[in-house]
Symmetry: D2
Subunit: 145 residues, 4 copies
Amino acid sequence: MSDAFRFAAEIRVRLPETDAFGVCYHGSFFTYFDVARMDYMRAIGLMDALKAGRASNLIAHTSADFKSPAGFDDLLTVRARVAELGSTSFTFEFRVERKEDGALVAVGRSVHVTVDGATRRPVPLPAELREAVRRAEGPSLKERS
Amino acid sequence: MSDAFRFAAEIRVRLPETDAFGVCYHGSFFTYFDVARMDYMRAIGLMDALKAGRASNLIAHTSADFKSPAGFDDLLTVRARVAELGSTSFTFEFRVERKEDGALVAVGRSVHVTVDGATRRPVPLPAELREAVRRAEGPSLKERS
Amino acid sequence: MSDAFRFAAEIRVRLPETDAFGVCYHGSFFTYFDVARMDYMRAIGLMDALKAGRASNLIAHTSADFKSPAGFDDLLTVRARVAELGSTSFTFEFRVERKEDGALVAVGRSVHVTVDGATRRPVPLPAELREAVRRAEGPSLKERS
Amino acid sequence: MSDAFRFAAEIRVRLPETDAFGVCYHGSFFTYFDVARMDYMRAIGLMDALKAGRASNLIAHTSADFKSPAGFDDLLTVRARVAELGSTSFTFEFRVERKEDGALVAVGRSVHVTVDGATRRPVPLPAELREAVRRAEGPSLKERS
């Protein structure tokens, strides 16, 4: 399963990311997805485009399924990939494992709509983004147009 | 649509809940869902059971769809309801509106599995929880057994 | 002591604000100070000026002393006052009590420098801010010029 | 100045750690101090003692001075050292620099009281902690008994 993920970020669970039930708070995983997404963008050479507004996007949807708890100070492997490119959107998938034993902690997904930086209206995926993701993901990438 | 929601929490967007894009960070909505869920539990008389471990549950899934941005200091109406009771799980639905103009900001959902406080294994929904939710939700509640 | 505080916000400790030690994470109190500070600004009629950039300020310093732990779902009284007005700065003081029993949970302080919204350089306290704070605090307010 | 710091953590500013003013939220620095403190404890071999409750401590005080803003995605160098050992307390100092240009972003401090894990009453600094810190800090460490 994790073969499909060519990129991973390592994230250690911080104390303020845990809760009084003694485990990593479920909402913290959306922050981890964000960190992995940004690291992925940097890894495929898109961070400058993102910062310059050439790949502006809004998150339209996100979800997570929680499989087993993570604890304070656990080192997590947060795998990320773009699974699908649409005409004005792209979809990330995430898989979080505890590094020590490989236990599956959570899986997730987020859908992003590319927008004009000024009007916030949807615009076609920038060629720069489409091509960088194609290079990174290879033939497993789904494309709809 | 919001007729189905008999409960709502009012939450004002705090500065640390916004991000550098100038809006409420998408992950903050999972905190708002949590606040509304707890307020709901308190409103239907289940908070003591929750704190005493008689209604222990683990979150198995959550998702959100983002419809329009919320900004710093915006007052939000976060509607919550239990939409479904399963044999060992229950499902919350959320609807977030900007109070000022009623604009739909986000919708969400979370699925919780009731567990034994010690073993963390799924257990049948406690009668106390099932009955309190039935009283709160009336005939719109779906039940599976 | 709390006589000196004419303003208070009520804040309930949220689950993500607690940590794996079972108590409210110490860093969460800086968020509570922020909420109380904004509520104070709103109460004395300065929120519009703040949002319009007529009372722009940068935080230069903050501190907190932790006296006793707060737990999940505790209702806190977060008292706030402006204790001092300088020529280009103002100082907030905070006092956090658990509402149920009045136990002192934390005290804190923050120093803010009023700045030009564009250049971020210090500017004299706007008369609008100085006068609103004087009206709110009365003779206990210290002023340096 | 930073010569006195023999330990540093590298932390990249995450999107949820920024705010609507476009910069890293001031409260996020207390999280960064926490991360650096834990990394320091791990580096000097005290993390196992901490997790096993042999070095339990409560934070009694913390403060920060903000010197210049940090932005989204900035890489920060967060220097940490134990500056002082008391009879039942120890004091951390922090210095945050932007890695790219070395600009001073913030300085901070935190005071921790060693406590009995069960009663939460102050206890003398464990010898294990005192010795590990002495080895790490050398002659610049202040000690009071």
